[in-house]
Symmetry: D2
Subunit: 360 residues, 4 copies
């Protein structure tokens, strides 16, 4: 209700500020008897971790996960799973300038106005550090999807600024995505992206781009019309990630340039299953998965925190200039890849359980 929980049956609640005691998540509604280890959670957290490469923020956080409840002898109990990461490499003093000055296109002003108080250290709750809990929960969601229905989720960086990767995603693998630090599966494009990010960082500027995410092997029937349609749930899931500005599924905005006869996905039979010849629907029809790959794209704006001097105002209402010291990512996309995968997994596992309840 108050915004820090997500999901219906597989429901997560995240907590924590950038510079408080730590960040974490409680998962309620995880089915019992799912084998899970701290290592499996840690693997995803390491993909999200700051300081993982030369193109991310230099903040050094080990982000070592602790599982405090809900798991017994390597298996989930069906009770709430509490996971936590302590904050370690905090530098509250770096943020002192923002105590009284609002960073442009940040949440400083709106948090101050909404709550009448804010933790100005490192962005407080609006920091991307908040996504630690999402990624930890997403790791478990992925495991359940794999164990229970063989679903596989893959996200990758499709575009950074104007550098786009136009590979055929049929042969996309986790290994290809992880083969370079920008998480673009096409090595040549990845190289250009990394170069551009490094050049931009040197100029004290930042970049945005597009992540594409694909879910393979999704059972037919997930999604609850009319409000909790699968595409709507996915939209909310990814648009709740920091820095997102757009979302599309299947043909997306491009699809508006086609006519119905061009756009419709013709049905045919393949090995006794109903399939579609094209996938402009993006794996969802009428709000319900149709068994084809679910394909979504998410637009991320350029990082708001930049070193270049900007015009802004203080909390007293005075005009001022600001240059952001502190540590930040010149481009959030490489670290956002596991976040998008996590959100997609959370939606799918939730609807897998909902479907089991209503139509099981």
């Amino acid at each position: 209700m108050s915004g820090n929980s997500f999901g219906h049956l597989f429901r997560i609640t995240t907590w924590g500020e950038s510079h408080g005691g730590g960040v974490g998540v409680v998962i309620d509604g995880c089915p019992p008897r799912i084998p899970i280890s701290a290592d499996e959670i840690q693997y995803e957290l390491d993909r999200r971790r700051p300081g993982q490469s030369r193109i991310t923020t230099p903040r050094q956080e080990e982000d070592r996960v602790q599982i405090l409840s809900g798991v017994f002898e390597g298996m989930t109990l069906g009770t709430p799973i509490s996971m936590m990461v302590l904050n370690k490499d905090t530098k509250a003093e770096d943020y002192a300038p923002f105590k009284e000055t609002f960073r442009p296109s940040h949440a400083d002003y709106t948090y101050q106005q909404k709550y009448g108080i804010r933790n100005w250290q490192g962005g407080g709750r609006s920091s991307a550090r908040e996504t630690v809990g999402r990624v930890a929960a997403g790791a478990l969601a992925k495991k359940i999807l794999k164990e229970k229905c063989g679903v596989k989720i893959l996200a990758y960086v499709k575009q950074i600024h104007s550098i786009a990767c136009s590979m055929d995603t049929t042969f996309l693998t986790h290994e290809k995505i992880e083969s370079n630090i920008v998480r673009c599966p096409d090595p040549a494009t990845a190289e250009k992206m990394i170069q551009l990010i490094e050049d931009t960082r040197k100029k004290g500027d930042s970049l945005g781009g597009i992540i594409e995410a694909i879910a393979q092997g999704v059972p037919v029937g997930l999604g609850n019309p009319v409000f909790d349609k699968l595409e709507a749930e996915l939209a909310k899931a990814v648009m709740s990630l920091p820095a997102t500005k757009g979302y599309e599924i299947g043909s997306g905005f491009e699809g508006t340039l086609m006519t119905g006869s061009q756009h419709n996905d013709a049905f045919y039979m393949e090995e006794g299953k109903v399939r579609t010849k094209t996938n402009r629907s993006g794996g969802v029809q009428g709000g319900i998965s149709n068994g084809e790959d679910i394909v979504i794209r998410v637009a991320f704006k350029p990082t708001a925190t930049i070193r270049q001097i900007q015009e802004t105002v203080t909390s007293e209402g005075d005009q001022t200039l600001l240059s952001a010291p502190g540590r930040h990512d010149p481009c959030v996309l490489p670290r956002a890849v596991p976040m998008v995968e996590a959100m997609m997994a959370l939606v799918l596992v939730d609807h897998y359980l909902l479907q089991r309840a209503q139509c099981g």
Copy 2:
């Protein structure tokens, strides 16, 4: 939980199939003592109504609203408001061909697989007729927003296929939008859009496009991070409408082509208020409204129902050809304008109440 309710405190539940007894909505959580009349509801329903112009479906429905509860002597009681529209001009027999045959890019196949049963008459629950309840509830939401905080919501058709309207929205008015049957405020562009829709309909084909929606006068502070951020709630709201494929806020997908120094919205003071010089944020920062106009765009695919012959399969798994008789819109956008406005209003009134609760 099962998908037919939307909102937290201002919560609507819609019901009804295209060819059942009727369609309706129950609104729970409407504040008491809001003056409302059936005429105000009817005005919005008439904008959504089939048969309203030569470019919509010829199905004739008066869509006369009945308010059954929650209103007493012209004022809301604070109790649930039940509103209903009976189905009248139903032609179940027109849909007989679809009883056994799945219409491409429709919900026939997925509903059948999910529920193991479906009302094949007119699309059943997946029909856009379901949005009657949303529009009725949205009319009330708009009224509350206007009464309580002076918020105004305006949506219009920005693009049909490749015909785009690039007007300055500063002077956008409800009257301009309603001045033509396609609901594009630029008369010259509107004319071209109407022509294209009529030509396409003659060919038995269909069109998609983009609707832009703007909320003016929104108070600072609406939106509940981290999952119920305002942009995420709006995303879910509009992506739950039939035929939507994409969503963006502020700079959207275009914003990925800018650097941070180009994209950031500089703060300045105007008449004692914190304002931004540009509005690439689209009125939302960190998931919370910042007082600037909220600007979103929604992509609608071309109508799936077309008269042209298409390949498909039957429920028995046989390959077949299909040409859709029945009545349908060659382009849903003109009628979708009030739907987008309704969804935006529902999100805003809900978050207005949430904000009053938490930070009031």
Copy 3:
């Protein structure tokens, strides 16, 4: 959120005032392909109907149910089921005295203070007429429980004022309960109860009492600790009925007079199943059903509306005397029996679906 919905997965929303257009319910989350007819719903509504006997209110309402959506060719679709009963025999003028005067132990004063407005005709939303929607939804819930797991729910009047029925409930049947107008399965006790109600009505006074409800054949495993324990869900369910003042499960308040060694239910094996020798737990242990009969009791206060003269105040704050004309029940218990059954069924079917989702 705003109080007019109940349940998690099998979720009902009721609407309607005593003297508005009608009363009704929308059920969201009903599994598809459940056979249901209007007659089955009507049967339960007839048990709740005013004017059904000489010991109920003389208001004449047919309470004829209309099913408006969610059912197709006699089967549920998995979409929202909307059911409605129109208000017919309304006599708003009878309630004119209460427009400005608060009836003691009624909801007039609190509604007025909470909402700043109220429909003073017949109690508005606080009228027991509101339970029509609950009973209609409960009829469907009962049907699902019977079809899917053979659960049977029986409630009866155990006590009216000081007249108590102490029968062995092992042989309780629906027929015995329905064999008399007070719904007490012991004929001799029933006779005394009816006599007392008639005598009390003549004096312009009213009576309360206790209803016991039993669910037989409940599967082991229903209930979601730690907050949605089965006994807690049942408590909320029945304590939301009008005029309730107390609730107990199993040994209840009497159980506080035993020691642990007397109170504990010893386990034993019977036909390969774990059973308990006694049932002081009332069928629930640790918040989860254990397969024994679920046994609860609900205390109803004497009807607040009485003909005798009472002291009260007006909305202007003046002291006054009041004698209630209008039609009312001298004792609500006979008509509350189907309400208690309905609430119990709603909780059980909801938890049956939850269990299927989480541990299925």
Copy 4:
């Protein structure tokens, strides 16, 4: 949805097993700018703590609370508040006998059947240790109620087995309740209760009883009919506590022995306010607080864990005898007093926020 969250706007999620890493709570929806210290939380936890007196379990737990998020410089931020207590004095080996044997009237059997797995150490999630999170959250809820509307909540032990305290609660104070280890404000009765508990413990047996809780100064208007009536919310709240078997409000079960003319609370004016001469309603009418004291009573069964030998079965289905070693309370009531207060406070603060949203 899955049972480990409570509340609508002020929503808590608890986690933790008796013998896992710890127990805790996340509070979402706490208003910002509430002053709160760890000491205030700790004060309530100390009242709940095991080993606090000679009549409680000898398990030694400091239960030292850590506030990990949501509080900054002594004030709440409006973001989620995460609080945690580590488990220290765990003796898993004491529980080895229960790994394969079901303790009578405990949750061992039902958890095993529901989840197919259980943490058999110390009762796992079904342990009363789970209430640490509730009491911590309740301490904050109490603070808000006091700060925002002057509400005061007092619970006390009214009855242990057949020893009842019949004091006039007009002069009830926190100090009187805390003046003895059994938390009965009447010293003479308290002495008898303590003696009985000690005697019973020596016999290896256990006791139950009744706690009464009173909320003073509650604003008129809290409670959301028709399902979230205040008495229904309170019923669920306290019936979700371990070992509860009954609940009543105001006149409760005794009220069934009165007629309407005896039972109704006459209205009168006092210092410009509408008051009632008696309070059989228990401070709630039509589901909404009327400004009088809210008075509820909760029945707790005798502790299920006893040292005396009992008949039971093993998970293999064999008949066996069991005598429970381990550390346990001979009577849970003294430690349950802060739990009941916490649950009452959680309901009231939640409805205070709901009321502010809907009718503010």
